[in-house]
Symmetry: C2
Subunit: 251 residues, 2 copies
C-alpha cells in the first residue's frame, strides 16, 4: 500500500488533505479512485489508514479510517527461516533481525548445515535466544518480541511454508533463470497484515533436494542483490529490503 507523509497543517479532525506532487502521484501515477486507500504519515510519527473521499489532480481529501498503533512494527509479519549456521551467527541474526523488524525466527537443519542442534543443545540455547530478542526489541522500541521457534527440518519447513500468505527463499542461481521471481515483485504482492516467510540457506547453499522441495511447496526463489552474501547477512538484507519497500518507499 502507498504511504504519504502529510504535513501537520493538512490534518483536521478525521480529514486529511494531500496536495501537490503527492496528490498528482495518487491521481495520475497510481490512478486511484474514491474509496481507494493509502497510508498517511503524521509528522508526530503515527500513521493512519485513509480512504480517498474526493480527488482532483492536485487536491485530494481523505478520511482517517484507522490509526495504526504499532508504528514501530512492520506492516507485514515476517518470519525468517534461517538455516542453522556455524558459531554464534544465529545470535547475530536474532539481534539485528529483531532491530530490523522480524516477526519470528525459525532455525532449520539444512542438508548442508555444518552445525547440528540436537534437543540437548536447544535446551541450553533457547533461554539465551529469548533474552537476545527481548533485549533487541526493547532497544529498538518495538511493541512485539519476535518468537524464536524450535528447529525444524527442511522437509518440515517446506510443509510449514504453506501456512504463509507469501513464502520465498533466497537462491541466487535460480534468480538468474528466465522465470525468476524478483524480490521486488514478491514485495509488490504484499498487503498489510500478510504473513511472509523468508528462507535463508546455509553457508554451503541448499542441496538439490531442498531446492526441489521448496519449489514444489510453492516457495518463490528470490535474489538479494547481485553480490554473494554470507548467510547471516542475507537475512538482514531481506529484512532491510522489506522495511525499505513497505515503510520508506514512495515510488
Amino acid at each position: 500500500m502507498q504511504r504519504y507523509f502529510v504535513p501537520e497543517s493538512s490534518w483536521s479532525g478525521d480529514k486529511v488533505i494531500v496536495k501537490g506532487n503527492d496528490a498528482r502521484h495518487i491521481s495520475r501515477v497510481m490512478r486511484m479512485k474514491p474509496g481507494d486507500k493509502v497510508f498517511c504519515n503524521h509528522p508526530d510519527g503515527r500513521a493512519a489508514l485513509c480512504m480517498i473521499l474526493t480527488l482532483r489532480d492536485t487536491f485530494i481529501e481523505l478520511l482517517v479510517e484507522q490509526w495504526m498503533e504499532q508504528s514501530a512494527e512492520m506492516p507485514v509479519h515476517v518470519t525468517i527461516a534461517q538455516a542453522i549456521p556455524k558459531g554464534d551467527k544465529f545470535e547475530l541474526v536474532l539481534q539485528k533481525g529483531t532491530e530490523l523488524g522480524a516477526g519470528a525466527f525459525i532455525p532449520f537443519q539444512a542438508d548442508r548445515s555444518v552445525a547440528v542442534w540436537d534437543e540437548k543443545k536447544i535446551d541450553k540455547k533457547q533461554p539465551r535466544f529469548d533474552k537476545i530478542v527481548k533485549e533487541a526489541s526493547e532497544q529498538s522500541h518495538r511493541n512485539h518480541v519476535p518468537a524464536v521457534e524450535p528447529p525444524v527440518s527442511s522437509t518440515q519447513l517446506a510443509e510449514l511454508s504453506k501456512e504463509y500468505d507469501i513464502a520465498a527463499f533466497a537462491y541466487e542461481e535460480e534468480a538468474r533463470s528466465e522465470v525468476h521471481h524478483s524480490f521486488a515483485k514478491v514485495l509488490h504482492e504484499t498487503r498489510p497484515g500478510m504473513r511472509m516467510l523468508i528462507c535463508i540457506g546455509p553457508e554451503g547453499g541448499y542441496s538439490d533436494r531442498e531446492v526441489e522441495l521448496f519449489k514444489e511447496a510453492g516457495m518463490k526463489p528470490v535474489r538479494l542483490g547481485p553480490r554473494i552474501l554470507r548467510t547471516e547477512t542475507a537475512a538482514l538484507y531481506a529484512l532491510a529490503g522489506i522495511s525499505y519497500h513497505l515503510e520508506e518507499l514512495r515510488c
Copy 2:
C-alpha cells in the same frame, strides 16, 4: 534508472525487445520517449544500458549501448561515514558493509563517540581493517575492495560531504519533521556513476552542533525505517536499502 529483466529470447545482437507489463510500465507509467535509457538485465546475470529506439504500448525496441562489466558492483559509489562506535562494531560494519556493496568507509570522531581513536590506535587497527574488507570483497565476489579512510572529525566530514553528488545523514528526529527528506526520495535522485555519502551517527546520537553542521553543508537528514537501530545496524540498512532500490526494484 529503471531496470528490467528481459528473457533470453528477446535479445538479438545489440537489439532488445521489451514486451507486456514491462513495456506498459516504460510507456505508460514512466512515460519514456525514444532516446531515454533503461537498464536491461540478461538472464545470464549481466546488465546492459539500453536506449529506447521505438516505442509502442506493449512493444519496445531498445539498442544496447553498453554492457555493464562490474555486475557485482553497485551502480553508485557509496561511502559510509560511520561514527566511531564502541568495541569491535566498526569491524562488523566493514565486513557486512563490504558484502552489501559499500565503495568506501570513513570513520569519524563524533562529539558523542565514546571511543577515541588516536594516531597510535589507528596505526594498530588499519592493517586489520584492510584485511577485513579484502576478505569480505573476495567472499562476495566483488571486483572492488573498498577503501578504509583515516578518521576525520565531524567538521572535516561536513566539509568532505561537499565533494559528493549526494550526501545524507541518518537522523530519525529530523526525518519526522514536515520538511524531511525520505530516503526513497534521495535514492530516486541517484544516477549511475554518482558518488554518495551516507553518514551514520554514534550510539548517543549527534550533538546539536553536528546536526547544524551537516545541514549547513547540504547533507539531507533521512530515516532508515521506523525502528530505532543500533549504529552498526543502521549502516547495513542503508546499504541494503540502496542495493534493493537500485539493483532489485522495478516499481
